[in-house]
């Protein structure tokens, strides 16, 4: 009988060993496969949740990049920080899910030893599952790491491409400005404007963006913190937004849409009462006449210019006197000039004559080193020797309009020295010397230079202007309307000379 028991026992043990031989490797294999495949699947699902579905149960992202201090009030471009934070977030989500997967495996293995009567049956499954789970975790971790590396590579390559695109676009924009010879100057603080600051175009948003160019806040567009989208480049039409001077001490409005066209800075200088403002008014009137004839289009570049120069043609037409210019620092009068061959933005600076008598006041006119052409206005009546030559009745007639300011040479010397002190090479800039009031003293035939030398006794000034500047032009102007409502031709002649040197072809005196 005992033989039967022994044989039975051997058969049972053999059967159980056979069961173990099959069960443990199979359960280990299954567990290994589950973990080796499950972990990458869990990672990809986590990636999907973080990047695509954005399910609400996602945990808070760690290491979310903070916008730079003192930076613009804009949302960071995705590849300038948030993409890496998302990669980190996806790994954390995947680790959490893998932990759950691993815990469920451990729990199943533990339960396989606690099944009362069936422990002999389930325990091998648990043992195999545990061993397989360990091996699967190693394999799964390796595969998941490869997937994470692929994700990081995608982020890295995309970030590199995005940044390279940003640099190329910035360079293209700068090149375009350089080719078009666009150098922006603030009409208020006279500083060069490398790029205007812009107000957010969003409704009820007062955020101002100091540098909208492609970079960490966006390549083609940027998004303000209020959610509104903004163009990043003049190339893409950023000039349509409200522009401001980016310099911290200024920040004033640049209504004239800077960056769209080359700017021409034209400073008027000369003694008090020399006729600078009147000349400016007559130039504006001439531009308006050309506009009315359809030969070009001249429009005021901003509301301030419109307010101050709207009366120009009325005043010139009426022959009335201009009001003395305030000694405050001047703000440029801006005129947008649209011609067949392009657009120009004229910045006309008309400072009070008092500013040209002493160094401190002239020094403040920092726009002087932004100009390539200057206009020196001289009232011939203010030259004492010339005044003395006039007949007594003419003197009596003109004494009311005669400038009582010091000699025109003083304003010239002062300004000329200051321009040089500002680092301007005079041999690279031009000067128009304008003798005003030709309508009052007549326009004798002959060379203006000879007349100025012989009649006005301004030989030294003429010599200095001729020698020091790249080119000097001499004009006698009459800032009056002729019969028929046309500006005196001398104004158009002067403007032709000034603007031709700035690459602008004006209609000329025939109009």
């Amino acid at each position: 009988m005992w033989v039967v028991y022994v044989v039975g026992f051997i058969l049972v043990v053999g059967a159980y060993l056979s069961y173990l031989t099959v069960t443990i490797p199979v359960s280990a294999g299954v567990a290994c496969a589950v973990y080796a495949v499950g972990m990458p699947v869990v990672y990809v699902r986590g990636l999907g949740k973080v990047l695509a579905t954005r399910s609400p149960e996602l945990p808070e992202p760690q290491n979310w990049p903070k916008p730079p201090k003192d930076g613009d009030p804009a949302v960071l471009q995705y590849f300038y920080g948030p993409a890496m934070a998302d990669a980190d977030h996806a790994v954390r989500v995947a680790v959490g899910n893998c932990q759950k997967l691993w815990n469920s495996g451990i729990k199943a293995a533990e339960e396989s030893f606690n099944t009362d009567d069936m422990t002999w049956f389930t325990a091998p499954l648990g043992v195999g599952g545990f061993i397989g789970g360990l091996a699967g975790t190693v394999v799964g971790t390796l595969i998941t790491a490869v997937l994470a590396v692929i994700h990081l590579l995608v982020v890295g390559v995309s970030a590199a491409l995005v940044r390279a695109t940003g640099s190329v676009l910035r360079a293209a924009d700068s090149t375009m400005l350089w080719v078009k010879n666009v150098k922006m100057v603030c009409p208020h603080c006279y500083e060069r404007v490398p790029y205007p600051a812009y107000d957010c175009p969003g409704k009820n948003c007062t955020n101002r963006h100091r540098d909208v160019r492609p970079g960490k806040f966006g390549i083609f567009k940027r998004r303000c913190q209020c959610g509104a989208r903004m163009n990043t480049l003049l190339l893409f039409g950023s000039s349509r937004m409200a522009a401001f001077c980016p310099h911290p001490g200024c920040k004033r409005s640049l209504e004239h849409r800077p960056g769209e066209a080359p700017e021409v800075v034209l400073p008027f200088f000369g003694a008090t009462g020399a006729g600078k403002t009147r000349l400016l008014f007559s130039m504006v009137t001439q531009l308006q006449a050309w506009t009315e004839n359809g030969q070009l289009k001249a429009e005021f570049g901003d509301s301030s210019t419109a307010r101050e120069l709207d009366i120009a043609s009325t005043l010139v037409r009426s022959g009335g006197s201009t009001i003395g210019t305030s000694v405050e620092l001047p703000r440029a009068h801006i005129i947008r000039l649209t011609l067949k061959k392009g657009t120009r933005i004229l910045q006309l600076f008309d400072a009070a004559g008092e500013r040209f008598y002493n160094t401190d006041r002239t020094q403040e006119l920092r726009y002087l080193n932004k100009a390539r052409t200057f206009i020196l206005v001289i009232d011939p009546l203010s030259v004492e020797s010339f005044w003395q030559q006039l007949p007594a009745n003419t003197q009596a007639e003109l004494s009311a309009v005669k400038s009582t300011a010091p000699s025109p040479e003083l304003a010239y010397q002062q300004t000329h020295q200051q321009i040089e002190a500002m680092g301007v090479q005079l041999k690279k800039v031009r000067l128009a010397v304008v003798f005003s009031r030709a309508d009052l003293i007549g326009m004798p035939d002959g060379d203006v230079v000879e007349w100025a030398r012989n009649e006005l006794g301004l030989g030294n000034l003429i010599r200095s202007t001729t020698q020091n500047f790249k080119e000097a032009g001499y004009f006698r102007t009459a800032a009056i309307m002729e019969a028929g409502g046309r500006m005196h031709k001398s104004v158009a002649e002067l403007m032709d000379w000034v603007m031709a040197r700035e690459g602008v072809e004006l209609p000329g005196v025939t109009s």
Binding site: V44, L47, G48, V50, L51, A52, R54, L58, E60, P61, W64, V75, Y78, F79, P82, A83, D86, V146, L147, I150, H151, L153, V154, V155, S158, R223, Q225, C226, G227
Partner: protein
């Protein structure tokens, strides 16, 4: 969670990164069959 404006701003960039990663993974899996 990031704010609503950031969520909107990053929506398409995130989708792009996800799809590009899946494509890269698929390409890697297909590599042995292509060689």
């Amino acid at each position: 969670m990031t704010n609503r404006i950031e969520e909107n701003a990053y929506k398409w960039s995130r989708r792009y990164v996800f799809i590009a990663t899946l494509v890269a993974i698929a390409a890697l899996l297909a590599l042995p069959f292509l060689i």
